[in-house]
């Protein structure tokens, strides 16, 4: 717990959120991190669709995918679904 956390007098009742969920970074839970081999990746986007946390994004400006490690929990579904086995789960 850090000193930045609010006291009971400062927070809204009933656990009403005073911040957006995007401000709560949950990626530090993971044990395994997905690492992509760009040579093998065909950009089929199956990993984008299968990610249960929406932590893999398609970036049209780069014409490429991007992992958001701030929200990736390391579940490995992307690696399991990847048809070219381009994603490897590496211990953090």
């Amino acid at each position: 717990m850090t000193s930045k956390e609010k006291s009971w007098k400062e927070i809204s009742p009933a656990g009403v959120c005073w911040k957006s969920s995007t401000e709560f970074l949950t990626g530090d839970w993971k044990t395994y991190t997905p690492i992509r081999d760009v040579q093998k990746c065909t950009k089929c986007l199956l990993c984008v669709m299968f990610c249960p946390d929406g932590a893999i994004h398609w970036r049209p400006e780069k014409e490429d995918i991007e992992f958001d490690y701030n929200f990736c929990k390391g579940c490995g579904i992307c690696a399991n679904e990847c048809p070219t086995k381009a994603i490897e789960m590496k211990i953090q």
Partner: protein
């Protein structure tokens, strides 16, 4: 004092509750309509069927669902009511904590009844006493009139922005719930003016805006989401503060209600009878106080300095008021209509004795467990309690700390 003409109706406690709920402009009543339910929701469903109220009446498949429906409706800003008793309240257990944690001011009437096994739905306080740490306000009434008055007050207390806690009004099963009394009822207009519409305070939302504390698609909020070890504790501390505020608000609403009804129950928290110079005092909850007062009148005629302290508000417990009321007392008998198995005595005994530990006056405090499963407690048995207190004073000794009234040994 208000001069509004009050009609006198013959109502049992359940009907008095239903009548008060009808007048309180409740948006939703959700209830499970089978045993151990009482006449409260039966009468109320008749009001709905007759078009006398605009309330949404939801028959749920269990008490757990009934309270869930009330909580959900309350979270949108609605005024919600439900009723139950005994095993029904026990089935609500999980949702009682969710409701108080979500700070939803649901009002619930409980016809206080025993818990199985053995199967019994007669009057005692086992059901609500088992829920005393669930974060609900608990008001125990002495008669059907007080049941009517307390339901109306409960909405105003629970919905106060400094409180925002759900409230239980407990009336003794059968003794009050099913017994006909003359009940003075206020005109609909007076109750409507007294309560007004539910006021919704503002809270800080995730968008950094001050928005109404209710589920509203225009101003979205989340209630009761996950709070991990770094925040859960803080929310519980807030509930404790709300309970402390409730002590003041219960008194305030009780006084405001006295203005329109000309009826008072002590200060709204505790109700003393012949306590000013009393040396021997019985502390009790609910309808039993009526019997005890009768015995006190008899004892007073005999020159015995006897008195009664009825705890009307058990949650929050009015600790200062109790210490003050018992400041000159020499011996106290605490009556418990439920048991706390394996501890020393009943829950009311624990709490009152605990409160008196730091009091300057250090009276003898003994426990009388009585009336379980609807067993009747007679004036003669109450008289025996006062005689025991006299013996304790005379001998300066407590032989039996925990006593069972009317139990076959």
């Amino acid at each position: 004092m208000n001069n509004a003409k009050q009609e006198v109706l013959a109502l049992n406690g359940d009907e008095a509750v239903a009548y008060a709920t009808k007048q309180s402009n409740v948006d939703i009543v959700a209830a499970y309509p089978i045993t151990p339910q009482t006449i409260m929701v039966e009468r109320f469903s008749e009001y709905v069927a007759n078009g006398e109220v605009e309330t949404e009446f939801v028959c749920t498949e269990s008490e757990h669902s009934a309270l869930t429906a009330c909580l959900a409706a309350s979270a949108t800003g609605a005024r919600a009511f439900t009723a139950s008793a005994s095993a029904g309240l026990a089935l609500m257990h999980e949702m009682l904590f969710v409701t108080s944690g979500c700070r939803a001011p649901v009002v619930m009437a409980i016809a206080n009844r025993a818990l199985s096994a053995p199967l019994n739905i007669h009057g005692d306080h086992s059901d609500t006493m088992a829920q005393r740490d669930s974060g609900w306000i608990q008001i125990y009434v002495e008669n059907a009139q007080e049941a009517y008055d307390s339901i109306i007050q409960a909405f105003k207390i629970a919905e106060n922005s400094e409180v925002l806690l759900p409230a239980i009004v407990g009336l003794d099963g059968f003794t009050l719930s099913h017994t006909l009394e003359n009940v003075r009822v206020l005109p609909d207009r007076i109750v409507k003016e007294f309560l007004g519409a539910r006021r919704i305070p503002n809270v800080l939302s995730h968008e950094g805006k001050n928005v109404p504390f209710r589920l509203d698609p225009e101003n979205p909020t989340s209630m009761g989401p996950i709070a991990l070890p770094n925040y859960y504790f803080e929310f519980k501390r807030q509930q404790e503060e709300a309970m402390k505020n409730a002590l003041r608000i219960i008194r305030q609403v009780h006084n405001e209600y006295a203005q329109i009804s000309d009826r008072k129950y002590g200060d709204g928290l505790i109700d003393s009878y012949k306590l000013d110079d009393a040396e021997l005092v019985v502390v009790c909850l609910g309808s039993t106080a009526g019997t005890v007062k009768t015995v006190v009148d008899e004892l007073r005629e005999e020159g015995v300095k006897a008195g009664v302290l009825r705890i009307r508000t058990f949650r929050p417990l009015p600790t200062e008021e109790i210490v003050n009321a018992l400041r000159n007392v020499k011996a106290v008998a605490i009556m418990d209509r439920s048991m706390s198995f394996g501890s020393s005595g009943g829950p009311v005994f624990h709490e009152i004795r605990h409160v008196l530990y730091d009091a300057a006056s250090h009276p003898y405090v003994v426990n009388y467990i009585y009336g379980l499963g609807g067993r009747d407690t007679s004036p003669a048995q109450i008289r025996k309690i006062y005689e025991d207190l006299q013996t304790i004073l005379k001998t300066s000794r407590v032989d039996k700390l925990i006593n069972y009234v009317g139990l076959r040994e």
